[in-house]
């Protein structure tokens, strides 16, 4: 019995069982999770560490406007004759963190509101439902314009806030509906019988059952946030100057770079970064899904 006791007392899978542990396992052990993580990490490193690693001197040079990729300029040069690659390296950090922040905020709010509404129903539910209806219905364009009019100088986190505050409503209803159905499940009752506390019941018993769903939506939200930032450029809300995927896309767009074959690296590079980032997140999500939802391995 001594070995047995030891096994119980000192569990071999200690880390694996915690939520983070399972996340870690999902990300490192499954091929999908691993590939996704590598991709996402790659882009994050590229965008956050890259700027420190490359030569930041990138002068305007009118003799080099729109040149083809070459050994010196891997992605060619852009409309000011600057090196496109250098710009690309410098362009990722802000959209990534602002997009992630906005998505986190949106998903967080959606999850909190959605589970509160679905779990408690009643007045909270009614009020939140109305709030989503209102949020969804107000034309975002108008809202953004009003925001421009209101704030002269809006910091990046403020943008995350604005973007996030219009996105949460889209996820809210789905989460609410799922919480509504999950909370009727007997295992939730069982948790209530243990007096586990509402917060724990919602966050540890109910939400993990929809982890996959939430994650997929988080990915979608990151994406939409990044593109919402592009949209903000269109409205003239964002100061240009700080390099940014959004700015690159917007320039490609509004100045018709996309019609010029030489400009294609400049047009496609930021899009490709976003697409790869998204695909990375989605693939990562698949690994996570498996880790967080043990039943998935069944079928």
């Amino acid at each position: 019995m001594t070995t047995l006791d030891a096994a119980i007392a000192k569990p071999r899978k200690q880390f694996k069982e915690t939520f983070l542990g399972r996340v870690w396992t999902g990300l490192t052990r499954s091929p999908a999770g691993f590939a996704g993580t590598v991709l996402v990490l790659g882009i994050v490193l590229f965008s956050f560490v890259g700027p420190l690693a490359i030569d930041q001197d990138n002068p305007t040079d009118t003799t080099k406007i729109w040149t083809e990729p070459s050994a010196e300029h891997w992605l060619g040069t852009q409309y000011e004759g600057k090196d496109t690659f250098t710009i690309l390296v410098n362009s990722g950090a802000e959209p990534i963190w602002v997009g992630t922040l906005a998505a986190l905020m949106a998903v967080f709010v959606a999850v909190v509101f959605g589970s509160a509404a679905g779990y408690f129903r009643g007045k909270i539910d009614a009020v939140l439902l109305q709030l989503t209806d209102v949020t969804v219905t107000i034309p975002q364009f108008l809202l953004m314009l009003a925001v421009v009019a209101f704030f002269d100088d809006i910091p990046a986190w403020g943008i995350a806030f604005v973007v996030g505050s219009t996105m949460w409503a889209f996820l809210f209803r789905s989460i609410r509906a799922q919480v509504m159905s999950l909370k009727e499940r007997e295992f939730v009752e069982a948790a209530r019988l243990q007096d586990l506390g509402t917060a724990r019941i919602v966050f540890r018993e109910i939400l993990p059952n929809m982890a996959g769903f939430i994650f997929v939506n988080f990915v979608i939200a990151v994406n939409q946030a990044i593109y919402a930032i592009v949209g903000l450029y269109v409205l003239g809300l964002m100061p240009s100057g700080t390099p940014n995927w959004g700015l690159m896309i917007h320039q490609s767009w509004s100045q018709n770079f996309y019609l010029n074959p030489v400009a294609l690296p400049f047009v496609i590079a930021p899009l490709l970064m976003i697409v790869l980032f998204t695909i990375g997140l989605v693939t990562m999500g698949r690994g996570l899904d498996q880790a967080l939802n043990p039943r998935l391995r069944e079928r």
């Binding site: 999908a32 129903r121 009614a126 439902l129 109305q130 209806d133 209102v134 969804v136 219905t137 107000i138 034309p139 975002q140 364009f141 108008l142 809202l143 314009l145 009003a146 009019a149 209101f150 409503a169 889209f170 209803r173 789905s174 509906a177 799922q178 509504m180 159905s181 009727e184 059952n209 929809m210 996959g212 769903f213 997929v216 939506n217 990915v219 979608i220 994406n223 939409q224 593109y227 949209g231 269109v234 896309i249 767009w253 996309y258 019609l259 899009l271 976003i274 697409v275 998204t278 695909i279 997140l281 989605v282 693939t283 698949r286 899904d289 939802n293 039943r295 998935l296 069944e298 079928r299």
Partner: protein, 364 residues
């Protein structure tokens, strides 16, 4: 929902006529449908009020904007203002409060008067000139997206982990990820500019010059021809998100016992996937249809501009930049109403496809 309906029939049976009436009133008052309608009206009011405020917060009134345009053509500020004042049917000195009351009156009577910058048209006429086209293209786009996204999403979940799943998931992420205006621009650039196979020039607009409106094949065919690109554009994003959501939902449902049992029952795979897996997996996806609809209408601005498809997005855009308040108001109210109606429909559909929703509410 918690009202013990069981006791109602009894009391109704005993009641005097007036009590019965009171009960009827109470029933209506406590009825789900009635409250939903009330709530919807409230939402519409709130949204339009917020819109009203937002519009008035924005710098510039319609006269100033018009004056700015004239100004750009060489008039001095004062001159331009004076000219604009004549062109625009707007009293800049009216108090915001007064305008709000006026607007509320319009809201109640559903009469918003005439467009400020185009006084020859009533707002209603103005909006109706655009709205059907957007509803048509967005509606068709969403229908396509639902059909394609839902079936692809299910197929992905069924073949979880296969090459098909991987590629479709990537495609789905790509479609949701890249804004539809970029995708449709790529389609146009590649199809028209590069390959020259897309008759983009002829596809612009809503209808070919000279085609008479009417319910005949020529008109309908032409309308569809012109709407193809917008429909594809609207379908793009929605398809991606339906695919991903449906996949997630289906994956969950596939683990349920009743699916195993259905297989054991030797049901045809098609029936299992539709009636058992699909129906249950749709539950979390259905609410998104209405949202997508609203989102797409909201996002139609750019699409309609790229494709030269004069719809409500374009109208809203120019009305906002002209500060044509009544037109913006009316458009927003119509949009709000359609979102609210769509979510109402979604609720009803959900009750229809998920019988469990009806019998909730005995909880302590």
């Amino acid at each position: 929902m918690t009202a013990p309906a069981a006791s109602l029939p009894q009391s109704a049976a005993e009641g005097t006529p007036s009590r019965t009436a009171a009960i009827v009133v109470r029933r209506v008052w406590t009825s789900y449908a009635f409250r939903r309608v009330l709530q919807s009206v409230f939402v519409i009011w709130l949204v339009s009020t917020i819109t009203f405020l937002l519009m008035h917060f924005m710098p510039g009134d319609p006269i100033e904007i018009m004056a700015g345009r004239l100004n750009s053509a060489g008039m001095s500020h004062d001159q331009a203002m004076a000219t604009a004042a004549n062109l625009v049917n707007y009293d800049p000195d009216a108090s915001v409060w007064g305008q709000y009351l006026e607007f509320l009156k319009g809201l109640v009577t559903l009469d918003f008067g005439n467009s400020l910058t185009n006084p020859s048209k009533t707002v209603f006429e103005h909006v109706m000139e655009y709205l059907p086209w957007t509803l048509f293209s967005v509606g068709a786009g969403v229908v396509f997206a639902v059909v394609i996204g839902v079936s692809a999403g299910m197929a992905m979940a069924y073949r979880r982990g296969s090459a098909f799943d991987h590629s479709m998931t990537s495609l789905g992420s790509f479609l949701t990820g890249v804004p539809n205006y970029i995708l449709i621009a790529a389609v146009v650039v590649i199809g028209y500019t590069v390959l020259g196979i897309l008759p983009f020039l002829d596809m612009r607009g809503r209808i070919t010059a000279g085609v008479e409106p009417g319910f005949d094949p020529v008109f309908l065919g032409d309308a569809v021809f012109h709407a193809i690109l917008p429909i594809i554009a609207f379908a793009f994003t929605a398809t991606g998100s339906f695919m991903l959501n449906m996949k997630a939902a289906t994956t969950e449902v596939l683990t349920e016992d009743y699916v195993t049992v259905a297989r054991a029952r030797g049901l045809k795979p098609g029936r299992i996937s539709r009636g058992y897996v699909g129906r249950n997996a749709l539950l979390p996806v259905v609410p998104q249809i209405a949202l997508q609809m609203g989102m797409l209408v909201g996002g139609s601005i750019v699409i309609e501009q790229i494709l030269d498809y004069p719809g409500v997005g374009q109208m809203l855009m120019s009305a906002i930049s002209d500060r044509d308040y009544p037109v913006v108001q009316a458009a927003v109210i119509i949009l709000a109403t359609s979102v609210v109606v769509a979510s109402l429909i979604v609720d009803l559909v959900l009750v229809k496809i998920d019988p469990r929703i009806k019998s909730e509410g005995q909880d302590a």
